[in-house]
Symmetry: C2
Subunit: 139 residues, 2 copies
């Protein structure tokens, strides 16, 4: 039987970005560039990208990175962008990536929840836990 342990198998950051620049977050090409650069700044290896426009003016996209993913869904009409940074392993600095993305979106503030995924106390029954905080950005 395994000894007691508190391992985890991923860190997943759930980010609501408010006050974003509608010109930036309505542009599929710019949003894709921002997410790919965020992945690179975080030290993640990009494996695939899929971005598209959705009505009326939003952008939806996923960057598949090794073992995990980064995604965004934007509503320019509300100045709102939803971001997810899901990373595995110790090599990736997710916070560096999503702070870049949120600032590149021109956000004035964001709420962030870090979810620790796949926590195992030794019985192979997996669960997750949360920490939530808020950030303000200079306009």
């Amino acid at each position: 039987m395994p000894e007691e342990k508190h391992n985890s198998l991923g860190h997943h950051y759930i980010v609501e970005a408010s006050g974003c620049d509608p010109k930036v977050i309505s542009d599929v090409s710019q949003v894709q560039q921002i997410l790919v650069k965020a992945a690179e700044l975080a030290g993640a290896k990009v494996r695939a990208v899929s971005f598209h426009a959705f009505p009326p003016t939003g952008v939806s996209g996923v960057v598949v990175i090794s073992e995990s993913h980064i995604s965004t869904h934007t509503w320019p009409e509300y100045g709102y962008g939803a971001l997810d940074f899901y990373t595995c392993g110790e090599q990736v600095d997710a916070e560096k990536g999503f702070f870049y993305a949120v600032e590149a979106f021109g956000a004035s503030s964001s709420q962030i929840t870090e979810i620790t995924r796949g926590i195992d106390e030794g019985d192979q029954i997996y669960f997750h836990s949360f920490v939530t905080w808020e950030e303000e950005f200079k306009g």
Copy 2:
């Protein structure tokens, strides 16, 4: 000024599936089929898929659906699969999709958190909220 309201812009289900069948969740083709069928059962329109194997035996994949996404990252050596179902709009029955996927993975139990994304109380400062529960499945 907008009147007070509590709109939201998405429902995001974070699922930890334990006791999964290692044969199923180590097979890229099967995992992709399960996620695509889960999207279809949920009533979502599939726009793109990206699945790959990662060492030593895991599968990582994303199904891009209209306005949102479904993803999984599996660790067959632990019988563990992480699932995300992020949906927007009222047309998609995400629970129908992820319950299908979790049972197709052969899971014995799961922890599920529903995150309501992009909640606006009328000031265009967006936040999210959580509800967490657990499910047991027959082996």
